[in-house]
């Protein structure tokens, strides 16, 4: 099959444009100053964390978005990456290896656990698989909390040294935001390119076929077990990469409670808000939700404190207090009114609204158990 020639529009995708602009951001300190003047926060300091979460969300997107398996324990693999970095890099243990050695090991360990978890569980149906992954996430968290000899319990492992790079001294890593900014953005670009190519490869198309209709895909000669396992391993590996970066960025593995169910659900919220399976959507979803947490909420909190009398100490008069409700309502409303996400992938969008006029008659008997897309097609068809 020959791929059609790319139009210029395809070459300059929105995702590429956003990432390109981010690449240029540190070159123009005026934006940084402008933002700092408005919010008293350095955007450049916040962005590396956002990039790490985008990488994590991309990893989750391989499992949930492409392959259609609801994975509710991605934080476990994130934690594994972070703790491998913690064990191999901190002075707590005799290894003290370099970041560049710990990174591939972290990815490999996470991917290995992805395979170990996936091998027995992937034949389970959707909602049971979701629970197994949830259970795995919690078991990992509790184990990290309890194995104090290895993980230092709630204290976490620290200090994780910065990566070794020529011309960049250790003090520069901590004083200037730019080394981490470019390091994390670089990894994000690599992951993004990898996934862009993967989406169009045989494997990526097979995943999407599996998501659409597992039975049909199986009949066409695809091996669902192997494909799901590959998605699980890749997703876990990318999450492990994000974990190594996260620990390096924080210079500590943090408390194991940072890798709990809420983290996993937060990532799922990002995916659903942005658009499952859509890289641009995931990017925007993470930026919106992390931005909400780290930028909007503090600004609104200070605003309320300054303008509403006697608001101190009252939870419902702070923006932070409404965080859970806002996230919850976002999930409910998105599922109800826009299940494809704010910026759906073109494939999903086309299936949901081909030229905005589609009348699909779906048999109510078979409807109950078809896969994601077919049924979204139905709801989409009815709505438009």
């Amino acid at each position: 099959m020959s791929t059609p020639a790319k139009s210029p529009k395809q070459l300059l995708s929105w995702e590429g444009a956003i990432l390109g602009l981010l690449l240029l951001y540190p070159l123009f300190p005026m934006f940084e100053n402008l933002f700092f003047g408005a919010t008293k926060r350095s955007l450049g300091d916040q962005l590396p964390t956002v990039f790490i979460f985008v990488i994590l969300a991309y990893g989750l997107n391989v499992v949930v978005g492409y392959t259609g398996l609801l994975h509710m324990g991605i934080a476990a693999f994130f934690a594994m990456g972070a703790y491998v970095a913690g064990v191999l890099m901190t002075p707590v243990f005799p290894f003290q290896w370099s970041f560049w050695v710990a990174l591939p090991i972290g990815v490999a360990v996470a991917a290995l656990f992805g395979v170990l978890l996936g091998t027995p569980t992937l034949r389970l149906r959707g909602d049971y698989l979701a629970l197994v992954t949830l259970g795995f996430g919690e078991v990992t968290k509790f184990t990290l909390l309890n194995l104090e000899e290895l993980t230092s319990g709630t204290k976490g492992l620290s200090p994780v040294p910065p990566p070794e790079l020529p011309y960049i001294s250790a003090s520069l890593w901590s004083d200037d935001y730019r080394p981490f900014y470019y390091l994390t953005l670089g990894f994000l670009l690599v992951v993004s390119l990898l996934l862009r190519n993967l989406e169009r490869s045989r494997l990526g198309r097979a995943w999407i076929a599996l998501r659409e209709d597992e039975l049909a895909a199986n009949c066409m000669g695809l091996n669902p077990g192997k494909l799901k396992l590959a998605a699980f391993a890749l997703g876990a590996g990318i999450a492990g990469l994000a974990g190594v970066l996260y620990a390096t960025r924080l210079t500590s593995t943090a408390n194991p409670n940072a890798y709990d169910f809420n983290r996993s659900i937060f990532m799922i919220c990002c995916l659903i808000l942005g658009g499952l399976g859509s890289r641009l959507g995931v990017l925007v979803g993470v930026m919106m939700l992390v931005g909400f947490d780290t930028i909007v909420t503090p600004i609104m909190d200070t605003f309320i404190q300054q303008n509403v009398p006697n608001s101190g100490g009252k939870l419902y008069l702070s923006f932070t207090g409404w965080r859970l409700a806002i996230f919850g309502m976002a999930l409910i409303l998105m599922m109800r009114f826009r299940p494809e996400g704010l910026i759906p992938s073109s494939r999903v969008k086309h299936e949901l609204h081909p030229d905005e006029e589609v009348t699909v008659v779906v048999n109510p008997v078979t409807m109950g158990s078809n896969t994601l897309e077919v049924e979204q097609l139905k709801t989409g068809g009815q709505r438009s």
Binding site: L131, G135, G328, M329, I332, M335, R336, P339, E375
Partner: protein, 326 residues
Amino acid sequence: MMLLFAQEAAVSSTAMAPWLTQLLQAGLDGLAFGALIALIALGYTMVYGIVELINFAHGDLFMLGGFLALTLFTAIGWKEKADASVLVVVLAVLGVMLVSMIFCAGLNVAVDYFVYKPLRNAPKLAPLVSAIGVSFVFMNAGLFWGGAQDVNFPKLVSSDNLLDKSVGLRLTMQDVLIYSVTIPLMIGLTAFIKYSRLGKAMRATAQNPVAARLMGINTNFIISMTFGIGGALAGAASIIYALNINTISYTMGFQNGIYAFTAAVLGGIGRIPGAVLGGLLIGLVRSLGSTYVGEKWVGVLIFGILIVILVFRPTGLLGSPTREKV
């Protein structure tokens, strides 16, 4: 049964070996907690049996019921403990339990109507994600209601040992309260589902919604009713939990919800006797686990059981194998 056995064993041997006392005590505590978990698990299993939805918000509904009970008791003026005769306390607890049950039932029905019902024909994961959303909203409501810290619940039921000191075991009024609420409710529910007309309709809807509709059953009403009954059981569970533990917090829904869900899966999700059996087993695992393995490993143990059961016997202990419809 096991309770009676334990008591008999306790009575017959006046001086038991310490290890036996420890084992029996852990068993007794486990059964009481398990009965409570079973009550919550019933709500999961009934809803799952009928709409195949893992109602993630069920645990948090249970939590809201606890806060309502606290508010009601505070309104009566019983903040620390009751200063009234036993009869008044019993009546008040019953009354508050009834209000809490109605509240939870109504809330669950309303959530079903506004959130899950429009998604009835959507892919299965859509209502599951919505349920997580509802759970967050409930948690936030609990946060506003009771604050971020643990809240003390009035100590209305004594925790004095009812058994003679020579026995060496502890069985408190709080444990008796659990049994005296859970056992009648479970028997009533079983009888309702087995013998009443509506119960029959529920079973039919669970088996095949389309065929049930063709037979003239108003399946939407049946689904609402299932949510209502499940919610009512959570409301009842919440107040006996609060009277037993004496502290409540807005996060108690998640953990107990997961315990209850594990119980439902362990027993065979969709099966009512399964939820009861699973609940008792989970209670025993929790209590024996914290006695012999260590309290901090209980979470790992319970989630480990959840994973192992789902992987090796997804139908649970009492479930019959079903194949995913294609």
